[in-house]
Amino acid sequence: MQTIPDDLRYSKEHEWVRADGDLVTIGITHFAQDQLGDVVFVELPEKGASVRQHASLGVVESVKAASDVYAPVSGEVVERNLKVIESPELVNSSPYGDGWLVKVRMSDGDEMGALLDAAAYGEHVGASAQ
């Protein structure tokens, strides 16, 4: 698996963002799922909920612990991944694919500028792994 895809943007808290206009898909990175271990429960906001950049977006729980997922951008939740709620292990097996978490209609496109590109995220992960 490509562990840091080039076409995504990343938060320092290890969320990824795939932008399609102002519609963005959000998940957690390969590094994040590897650190968490087996994911057994995912809690996501309802469709229509508004989320604020850096505020909690949901919770991903591994066998050992619960971890907050932070919203990398602000906006309104237009879809949550029901498949990942049903099968949380998708976060481990396909973090950038079937293991996505929510789709958000971005309210402030400038927020994307604060996110890291793949190279910068790679450096960030390298530093975290020390």
Partner: protein, 370 residues
């Protein structure tokens, strides 16, 4: 990570070579999990066999003619009644009748008892027992000189047999009874071998000199490769013990809990003398105000410290909780007020400010099919 002062077991290099994630635990650097992950490790033990490095556990030896009776006075269960080659679970309690530690005592000779204690409690327990021991019984804390490898799972006897020669030729690993203990060579190393464990499976615990652990460890992994043996870390050790409803010291039991409320009254032989007996008998006569129960949670994973709710009131607290890979449910042990301890009672667990439906269930959550 501040690893400077952490102790390492003699299998540390082996764990690193296996790709283990090592974490500080009770003063030791121990494997939390291997690359396969906690769920896969858990399943390997339920389906076939796993090996665990438990060298952090404490081992006390009591020697002398008076050792069986002396240890009997320290432990809640019937230790004086153990024949050579038998072991029993029991509790070290204080005079207030609360729990200092939970232990397994092995009668390894007519005049020698082995007591296995929790790693975090070694120093406390050593002080506790030495202060209460008659002079003619010799005490030795062999914790740092002793390695412990557990072999657990339905294929454990087959695997251990493949690398073991028992001292008594007429005996076999398969014929060792549950809670039996004997001597032999495992991977060529002199060992004390007991049919005990903490997983709810058949299995063995093998005590060897600390620095000799790599040979039996490597032999077990090699001999078990065809049956899918897996090295097991502390993460799966916890999910396995929780499904089997074994107490964990520091979670379900500690010096603020008594054996009756902890559901461990069965380990207390109240018709003998032992430290804490009178207080425990009184607690039993009073009846506990709270009890340990099993909970199954319908959404969200219950975790230690989460409040248990009923009718809008806090009625208890989760002591351990996890996703149970074999039962495929979110499970917990919790103290609840006694009237709510009946199986079938509907309660809730407050997880992140939300009340999640939960039901009191009979335990263990998992019982090995017989």
């Amino acid at each position: 990570m501040s690893g400077g002062s952490l102790r390492r077991t003699s299998l540390h290099d082996a764990h690193q070579a296996l790709g283990a994630r090592l974490v500080p635990f009770a003063g030791w650097e121990m494997p939390l999990q291997y690359p396969a992950g906690i769920v896969a490790e858990h399943r390997a033990v339920r389906a076939s066999v796993g090996v665990f490095d438990l060298s952090h556990m404490g081992e006390f030896h009591f020697r002398g003619e008076g050792a069986p009776v002396a240890v009997d006075r320290l432990v809640s269960s019937d230790i004086a009644g153990l024949a050579v080659g038998q072991a029993r679970y029991g509790l070290l309690c204080n005079e207030r009748g609360t729990i200092v530690d939970d232990v397994i005592v092995y009668r390894i000779a007519a005049d020698e008892m082995l007591m296995v204690v929790n790693a975090a409690n070694v120093e406390k327990d050593a002080r506790h027992v030495q202060a209460r021991l008659p002079q003619d019984v010799a005490f030795e804390d062999a914790s740092l000189e002793t390695a412990l490898i557990a072999v657990q799972g339905p294929r454990a006897a087959v695997l251990l047999s493949a690398v073991t020669d028992l001292e008594v030729r007429e005996e076999s690993i398969e014929s060792l009874p549950a809670f039996g203990v004997t001597r032999g060579r495992v991977g060529g190393v002199r060992a004390t071998i007991a049919r005990t464990g903490y997983t709810g499976e058949d299995g063995f615990e093998v005590f060897i000199p600390h620095e000799r652990a790599p040979s039996p460890w490597n032999r077990l992994l090699a001999a078990g490769s065809a049956m899918g043996v897996a090295p097991i870390g502390l993460g799966a050790r916890d999910t396995l013990r929780l499904e089997a409803r074994f107490s964990l010291y520091g979670n379900e039991i500690d010096e603020t809990t008594d054996p009756i409320e902890a559901g461990l009254g069965w380990t207390c032989k109240l018709d003998k003398e032992f430290v804490g007996r009178d207080a425990i008998a009184a607690a039993k006569a009073r009846g506990p105000a709270r009890r340990i129960v099993g909970l199954v949670c319908e959404g969200g994973v219950p975790r230690r410290g989460h409040p248990v709710m009923s009718g809008g009131e806090v009625v208890g607290q989760v002591t351990s909780g996890t996703y149970g890979p074999t039962v495929d449910r979110n499970i917990a042990l919790a103290y609840v007020q006694t009237p709510l301890a009946k199986a079938g009672t509907a309660v809730a667990v407050r997880i992140r400010e939300r009340d999640v439906a939960a039901t009191v269930v009979k335990t263990p959550f998992f019982r090995r099919p017989t």
